[in-house]
Symmetry: C2
Subunit: 572 residues, 2 copies
């Protein structure tokens, strides 16, 4: 299928394109670019194992023509090319299964233009997410995309994986804000899909390429829709008795046409663990106070006159420092690791709850039952709204009224501000946990509203025998919603841990597909979910294979991912 | 390329699939299905000419399996298949250039299900547009798609052409409401692209197939997003001094995040012709009064309690009878035909306007100048909002305030209600005009805001030497807007008329492309705009060709349309 690589020849050919400073064949670089943040790779890494697959070379292009040139070279040499952004993916999408050339796009990082007149910007794929948002904020705009990886992910990575940010309920997923892409195909052609126009005549090439994770083309820049920076920001906490009631509440809000930026419903265990921490965490309170101040400042601003949308500065989104707190994840891992902790938690549960919980037979279910019943805290719901002053005020009142009509109890501003203060914290907690011998991962699935409670129970039920599992619902739409499961387990030995890890994913993905849910909502597919693509997409995989054959006839673009056969020219 | 057809053999093979009653090889049927509402075809028809291209047979499937079977048969026989909906297309998209089998989908017309829980319906492609909306209205929902062809177009036709309805500024174009499709490919495979889930993992097959006009697959049913029927409807007229000011006003509204359902800005000539008619047209006034009543009834309803979104009936959209009025089009044609009328109009213009207008050198520009200056009416703007009561009230106030801040003068409710009453009238005025020897057509283009005024002047300037031309701007987005030109000419002799008609389109399309506009916004491409596809899409046509090769390897699906080569197996 792919040709063997002569390193010296490869180096010479690459240096002809990039010069010597932007090419590396050093083992350290190749090992660094061999992986992303897929937790399964961290399991191996904590044992000191070297990556099983490394690229033959890493290059750092600065122009789309260099990307086209390296793809043409790779085609000539019959070696794979793998685009690489921030490396924050969690599905192994950048693993060079067949070696080849890894193309780090982070030197293509310019915000080329922002048109206030069209609310469109033109930005390079390698632009860092947080810098992108900061540069837009300085000009009075927002892209509205705030994934928890924002400090370590790129615009191109978002587009390649159909990412969603924390405020997606208002601003949409990244694909909803993509007007056009510049893409290098597997033939080395440079293609522009649509422009800043609403030019949706004929099939939409942009939406074919967004989410293709480097298998159909390499995204080098994009025309993206921006929005005026918000004038007002309102955050609030609510409490629902249970997940089922919460689902109805979320659905009512969305189907009334309301679009809060944040609408996150935590299940009982997630709510319980968060509340445990909240009381004892002084630092957390200080942070909350700090952001309450920030919010007050935004509040003052609300009475300022409306600046023109095509100019004038608005205050930027208050960007917090990456936090090493986020205590609930530690507590989840503690529960996974420490039987004593589980027993103490059980003990505090009522007799009835203990009986009910025990009859279900899995550790996680027992914990869930005990925690929920003991705490009587129900399910926490965080609501955030932002935008222009009057509309946001009206939308907030209508949203709160809708939630209360659905049985939600208003818990005031404080839980909302606490969430705002810590919203990026979780991503920075993972590495220390792995160092300590446990593992934690997340599984995000989605379905229409009518299947959502089934999906919640099916996936939680599938994961519960293996791990402690909690979930929140977020990214809601008029027609459905996603569920974000977090699970933790502590298993002795890397091989055992990998076996449990794989079983969790197999059982979870099969459960999701069985009840008509999706295998992903915004983390992408990569290598992790590739085995489950066919069951979800069925006959439609023919379209994917067709597009692949047309755009990458030699199969050199990120081979072996997303359920596509590694190479069309594979030897028997 | 395609094989010669033996009619007897074809009949036998088709009857094996459809029985004898749902197959026709009669000449009358074949001629009927040889055309759509493309005005160029009407020019030939008024001379009594038979269609140049007719299908070999017409079939009426009732199930997706029959569609798959006939496609497989066509592939075997090497003859084209052309899907056919309402026949209301205006670009010649259904002309059987190479004969073959025309598949009329109108017997597949069931509204299979409506899920109030997910706000999703499942509907067959052949469902008539007006019936679809009426059936949804009875259940308390709306699809929100109201093209002027609604009485004679189908859901499948909308999807195949990426259509837009009159309320698209609120509800989106049809592609924005498509969650998933069932499609038969050129291999006869039945593919479902996505479902009712927000399952946008991986590339989006739905958006590849929407707008492909039968060249990549035959859409047989669709999962579409519906909305709760509106509780309140607010219509109003405004007046702007000129198009340039109007564009700024529209942009301000959209970029503030406001989404009125209707936002239509008429240029000076369009405004003038409409106002001429309005004063003298008693019937029109009666109609307005009738719809003012309808609106009042809706107003009453606004104070009724909010019914549950997942059930309960709301009053249906007041559907008017097709009207044979719509006097402005007659007046436009009169101006195109009658030099005396043009002179009288000129005479009523001021001396300064006459001098200024005459110096520009084209009939249409002279008329435009004279009409605008004489009437001092500026540009009419129709604004309509609908939705839930409180939000619509707030959105209306904010929209009106934004318009007034941009220089618009409020002209009260009456012009808005008059528009509402006559909004479908235009489509039913075309045939009589052609019978009388003139022709009229529309050209809809789009661009980002920064190019929109250039686009208006460039296309109007390109059309003006050939025809009387007027325009309105509608279908606005945060990043741009479409312009809808209407032009009329009266040319002696069918061949001469065709020559002028072709020159208009060539000059108009080239002008649009030159200033960075699109060649279409919602009428599609078909045969009419096929020659201009390559100039607009450039390298991206490689993706289209690739998708075509994958989904229709023998090129039997609607060959010769949309700028694709007629057949991959074309003989030299």
């Amino acid at each position: 299928m792919f040709a063997p690589v002569d390193p010296d020849k490869l180096r010479l050919a690459l240096e002809a394109i990039f010069g010597s400073r932007r090419v590396s064949l050093r083992l350290l670089d190749r090992q660094t670019y061999a992986r992303d943040m897929w937790p399964r790779l961290l399991l191996a890494r904590r044992q000191g194992e070297a990556p099983a697959h490394v690229p033959n070379a890493v290059v750092w292009p600065e122009h789309v023509r260099e990307v086209a040139a390296v793809v043409k070279l790779a085609r000539e040499l019959r070696v794979p090319v793998i685009p690489y952004g921030g490396g924050s993916g969690v599905c192994g999408g950048v693993i060079p299964l067949f070696g080849g050339i890894t193309i780090d796009l982070k030197r293509m990082r310019e915000l080329r233009s922002v048109s206030g007149e069209d609310l469109i910007c033109d930005v390079d794929a390698g632009m860092n997410g947080e810098r992108f948002e900061r540069e837009l904020a300085h000009r009075g705009y927002t892209f509205g995309h705030f994934p928890s990886s924002i400090y370590c992910s790129t615009v191109g990575g978002w587009l390649a994986t159909r990412a969603a940010g924390q405020l997606s309920t208002k601003y949409g997923k990244v694909e909803d804000r993509a007007a056009g892409l510049t893409v290098v195909t597997g033939k080395g052609e440079i293609i522009e899909t649509d422009g800043p126009n609403r030019a949706l005549r004929g099939p939409n090439w942009t939406q074919l390429l967004v989410g293709s994770e480097g298998t159909l083309g390499i995204i080098t820049s994009a025309r993206l829709r921006v929005a005026p920076a918000p004038q007002l920001r309102v955050y609030r906490g609510f409490e629902l008795p249970d997940v089922a009631t919460g689902i109805i509440a979320l659905r009512r809000v969305l189907q009334r046409g309301l679009r809060p930026a944040v609408l996150r419903l935590y299940d009982e265990l997630d709510t319980f663990l968060a509340s445990m921490g909240h009381k004892s965490d002084k630092e957390s309170d200080e942070d909350t106070a700090r952001y309450a101040g920030a919010s007050a400042a935004t509040g003052d601003f609300a009475s300022a006159p409306l600046p023109p949308v095509d100019g004038g500065a608005l205050p930027s989104w208050p960007v917090p420092e990456p936090s090493e707190r986020g205590g609930w994840m530690s507590r989840l891992v503690t529960l996974a690791r420490d039987e004593g902790a589980r027993k103490r938690l059980m003990k505090s549960a009522s007799r009835a709850a203990q009986n009910a919980a025990l009859s279900r037979g899995s550790m996680a279910n027992r914990l869930f039952g005990a925690a929920a019943t003991t705490a009587h805290r129900g399910c926490r719901l965080i609501v955030g709204l932002e935008g222009s002053r009057i509309r946001t005020e009206v939308e907030a009142q209508l949203t709160f009224a809708e939630l209360e009509a659905a049985g939600a109890k208003d818990r005031g501003e404080e839980p909302g501000l606490a969430w705002l203060a810590h919203r990026y914290a979780v991503s920075y907690r993972m590495s220390p946990i792995f160092r300590d011998g446990a593992f934690v991962d997340t599984m995000e699935v989605a379905s229409s509203w009518d299947r959502l409670l089934d999906l919640y129970h099916a996936v939680r039920g599938a994961l519960a025998p293996h791990a402690v599992v909690m979930a929140h619902l977020s990214h809601a739409y008029a027609d459905g919603c996603s569920i974000y499961f977090t699970f933790a387990a502590s298993v002795e030995g890397a091989r055992n841990a990998e076996r449990v890890y794989d079983a969790i994913w197999k059982d979870g993905m099969e459960a999701a597909t069985r009840v008509g849910g999706t295998i992903s909502h915004h983390h992408g597919v990569g290598l992790l979910k590739a085995p489950y693509m066919a069951a979800e997409h069925r006959e439609a995989m023919a379209i994917f294979r067709g597009a692949k054959a047309a755009l990458d006839p030699d199969g050199i673009l990120n081979p072996g991912k997303m359920g596509l056969v590694a190479s069309r020219k594979e030897a028997p």
